[in-house]
Symmetry: C2
């Protein structure tokens, strides 16, 4: 049976609220996901929350979440929308918020043969971009996202929100470049970079499985030394005054070209 919590001072409310901060997420090994759509996506991939806060159990999918969360040993907590607002920090909080255990992000846990395509982000700073890239990764059938160097936290509220649940369907790994490169070269894999310095149009190159699309930092792009390691370095057509696209947009345009080539083959 769900228990009722209406006090802001309740320790579980405080714990959930604290997970908006990276420091607390890291210490607890937990993160927040909000909204029925994302929590249902998580459930369908076999992930259930350790804590499930809800303000309305009349929806069938919420009732199902409550039941399965409790059956799996988690705790379902009926609360007020004021408290959900306090936890999420949003003006219009969702009617359901889950507290999940963070996943293993070891590079060694990635099985490259599990998917034809992987996305690799280097020093990506915007959690919204990171979440959007996860969402695109899901759409193009990527296996997951490998985070290189200092990236935004994939377990941040903004990243989870922008991923629209893809955080739960995509594998996530984190590694330094010095670790990633030997791992990549220890098996098959075509490393694809986009660069202003490239001379090859992105539609002129041929992409091979498993493909690893490497995306650089929003401001600086890829370091030259990383570009030099790419098997294919291509440029996207830029017909206007600007010389670059948003990082998540560039990733998607690149990824769709890769899968389009494979769809034609």
């Amino acid at each position: 049976m769900p228990r009722q919590v209406t006090a802001f001072s309740n320790p579980l409310v405080k714990l959930a609220r604290s997970l908006r901060d990276k420091k607390h997420r890291r210490r607890e090994g937990l993160f927040l996901a909000e909204g029925l759509r994302i929590l249902t996506e998580a459930r369908e991939t076999g992930r259930l929350p350790e804590l499930l806060f809800f303000s309305d159990s009349s929806h069938k999918l919420i009732a199902k979440l409550i039941e399965e969360t409790e059956a799996a040993g988690g705790e379902a907590i009926e609360t007020t929308s004021d408290i959900l607002h306090k936890i999420s920090g949003k003006d219009n909080p969702q009617t359901v918020i889950g507290v999940y255990r963070q996943f293993d992000t070891a590079l060694e846990a990635i099985d490259r043969a599990a998917a034809p395509l992987w996305i690799v982000a280097q020093a990506l700073r915007d959690p919204g971009n990171l979440g959007t890239i996860l969402r695109t990764g899901d759409a193009v059938g990527a296996g997951g996202l490998i985070l290189i160097d200092d990236c935004a936290d994939p377990f941040s509220v903004e990243a989870v929100r922008a991923s629209m649940g893809a955080l739960f369907t995509q594998r996530i790994a984190a590694a330094r470049w010095e670790t990633f490169l030997p791992w990549l070269r220890s098996g098959p894999g075509q490393l694809i970079g986009t660069s202003l310095n490239a001379t090859t149009d992105y539609q002129a190159a041929r992409y091979a499985k498993p493909a690893f699309i490497l995306v650089g930092n929003e401001q600086a792009g890829l370091p030259r030394a990383y570009e030099a390691e790419c098997d294919v370095l291509v440029k996207l057509p830029m017909l206007g005054k600007a010389d670059s696209l948003n990082a998540a947009v560039a990733t998607a345009v690149m990824a769709y070209e890769v899968i389009n080539q494979w769809r034609r083959a």
Copy 2:
């Protein structure tokens, strides 16, 4: 000669600060743009700020902005980084912020023959998405962005920031659907919609100039009645669990397919 302002209570500082709110932007007909990159982009398209706040004039491009702003009748104001922080609301404020006059957004001011491609956004709510779409529009050689129904404010700080200056290179119009549709049909134009309900793959359709790519609301997508008016209704391949992409990402994937077909022709 730039004048110096160091008081938070200065009326020009207060005016600039107030432009973070839509109500004040609308009343004053002004908006904020931040950062040397965006202000230089604006200058290159012939747009100079009415007020230019800066904390450091040693950079050649800032000196040029100051000179041209004053020559055009605007006011250059030397100030502190604390005040720039107050105006922008960012922790790491840019060293230069401009206050610009809003552009005319009348649909009748759009000359469709001026570009092969236009983007039309319907009820797009996220100003970051809107700015990102402007940035993509510039990259694909679009003429501009037509905002249908209740969209986010293109002159908001978030939209200007995400546009990376494309706000100044793209035409922007705003109209109700009931006004837009007769305008569209009064001349040549292929209306292209993406939809979960479509059966045609986006690479199977043929795109004609001038093309109008219609993007729907982030949550709801396009209304069925709007889809029914599209000349071409296509779907993007979705290979994973999710059924949709981020709106700015979907727009970019669609737009690149359109220009790729034309590049091959």
